[in-house]
Amino acid sequence: AQSVTQLDSQVPVFEEAPVELRCNYSSSVSVYLFWYVQYPNQGLQLLLKYLSGSTLVKGINGFEAEFNKSQTSFHLRKPSVHISDTAEYFCAVSRHSGYSTLTFGKGTMLLVSP
């Protein structure tokens, strides 16, 4: 079984500041890793994903994440946030083999203020 831990339930930050949203996972098998964003009253939108290859993954809206296998982490970063980045962010994993449903973390609410 897999599990995902998002260490911060809420991250307040000022506009134009850098931000890091933390994600750690646990799995006995190889996994794919995802970050999804959910804007208020909307569904989930894929932000970025790690499948294989380069451990630094770039996504939409200037976000990037780095896969660290030894630390079983997949932290999300953005060098300068905007008010419009205010949303909930979910880290998720799925197994490599066969089909696999997503196992999500509890989510991190990013609150960007002026």
């Binding site: 794919y32 995802f34 999804y36 909307q42 569904g43 989930l44 939108q45 894929l46 994903k49 499948l51 979910f90 998720a92 799925s94 066969g98 089909y99 696999s100 449903t101 997503l102 196992t103 999500f104 973390g105 509890k106 989510g107």
Partner: protein, 119 residues
Amino acid sequence: GAGVSQSPSNKVTEKGKDVELRCDPISGHTALYWYRQSLGQGLEFLIYFQGNSAPDKSGLPSDRFSAERTGGSVSTLTIQRTQQEDSAVYLCASSLGRGGQGENPETQYFGPGTRLLVL
């Protein structure tokens, strides 16, 4: 192309009534998933369909919940005798599924969800 669509977007019902939630996956996607998002529980897997294979129902919380997928496309999630704890956002996702080409077959694309409130 069109994304995953869900209807209704909002549903208010009385305790004990049955509800049906609909999901239209992305055209060509053979895999379809239902998740539930509720306060305190986060996002939980409910059920998974892949082509004509028997669905994986391991996430359904009780026998009041059922789902079907007709013709390998549209899916309906039915909740019978609704309870207040069923209040949540029900999210549907689809992916290319096993045998998909040109894309990680496991990348899931989500619909906007149906907000269910049981009074």
